[in-house]
C-alpha cells in the first residue's frame, strides 16, 4: 500500500485570519481523495475551516547534516530581534 499510494502533507487553517499549519501526513491515491482523507483524519473535532494537501515529494527540506552552518550563525546576533527600541507608552502593546 505505502509503496504504491503517494504520501501527502496536510495543512489546516484553524480559523479565518490564521495561517495554515502543518498537522501531519497521510496516504491517498490522488489530490481529491487526499483532501477527503485529510478531512476524515485531521478535522474530526472541529480543528479547521480550510485544508491544503501537498504531495510530500513536492517539499524540499533542509538537510539536518547542514544544521550547523544553516542555523547556528544566527545564535549570537541578538540585535536582529527588535527588542532594543524605546516605545512610547502611548503606542501600547506591540
Amino acid at each position: 500500500m505505502a509503496q504504491e499510494t503517494p504520501l501527502w502533507e496536510v495543512f489546516i487553517r484553524p480559523r479565518n485570519g490564521l495561517s495554515h499549519k502543518h498537522v501531519g501526513s497521510l496516504h491517498a491515491a490522488d489530490e481529491v481523495l487526499a483532501l477527503q482523507a485529510a478531512r476524515d483524519v485531521y478535522t474530526r473535532r472541529g480543528e479547521g475551516v480550510s485544508i491544503w494537501v501537498v504531495p510530500s515529494r513536492a517539499i524540499t527540506a533542509s538537510d539536518p547534516d547542514h544544521a550547523a552552518e544553516t542555523f547556528e550563525p544566527t545564535a549570537d546576533k541578538i540585535y536582529r530581534h527588535p527588542s532594543f527600541y524605546d516605545i512610547p507608552d502611548d503606542v501600547g502593546h506591540m
Binding site: 500500500m1 499510494t5 497521510l26 496516504h27 491517498a28 491515491a29 490522488d30 481529491v32 481523495l33 477527503q36 482523507a37 478531512r39 476524515d40 483524519v41 474530526r44
Partner: protein, 249 residues
Amino acid sequence: MPALFDAVLELADDHLILGHRLSEWCGHAPMLEEDLALPNMALDLIGTARTLYDYAAQLEGKGRSEDDLAFLRVEREYRNLLICERPNGDFAQTMLRQLYFAAFMEPYWAAAVDSPDAVIRGVAGKAMKEMAYHVRHAGEWVIRLGDGTEDSAARMQAAVAELHRFTGEIFEESAASAALVAEGVLPARAGMRPAWDRVIGMIFAEAMLEAPEVPYPQTGGRRGLHGEHLGHLLAEMQYLQRAYPGATW
C-alpha cells in the same frame, strides 16, 4: 400519532442498520485513512438514528427508550430498507451501497428542512450536509474503482450487479409514510428519483459502469420481511443489551 411513529421508526432503522454495517469495518479497512472515514460515516448515521429513536419513543409514549427501540426488538419488527442490511462484501460493495443510500437521503433531507415537524426539520438540516459528504466520498471511490485496475473494475461491476436490485425499494412509500406525505410532514420518496438518477448517472458515466436491468426488484423491508443477513447483524448488535439488560456506559 401512530403513522408518525411508524414513519420515524422506518427512517431510524435505515440509519441504525446501515450505520452498524459501516461500523463493522472499524479496524478492518484497507487503509488507515478509510479506517477513520468509514466509522466517521457510521457515526453520522447512528447519530441521526438516535435522534429519531428518541423522537419515536416520545411519540409512542409507552415508556420505551431509544435504546429499547434500537436493541430490544425482534427481526420482523425492524422496518429498514433491505439495502441497508446487505453485507459489507468487499470495499467496492460497501462504497456502492453507501452511494445508493446517500444519493437518495441527501435530496430527501434537503426537501424535509421545510417540514412542519420541528424534529424532522432539525434532523434534516444536519443530516443533509452529512449525506452530501457521503455522496462525495463514496462517489469518488466508485469512480476510481470502476475506472481503475482490471480487478477493481470487475469488483465494482459485481457490486452493481449485486446491489442494484435493492434500489427500487428506496423509492417506495409505506402506508405510514404515505399518510405523512399527504399531510406534508415528509417529502414524497418518488420525488427524489430525478436527483438520484442524475447523481448515479454522472458517477456511473465517469466510473464506466452501467445500471443493469432489474428483472426481480427486491422489496419487503418496510413490512419486516428481511434477508437472512439481518438476523446475524442483530445477534451481534443486540448481544450486550440481551446479555446484560439495562447495561450503560
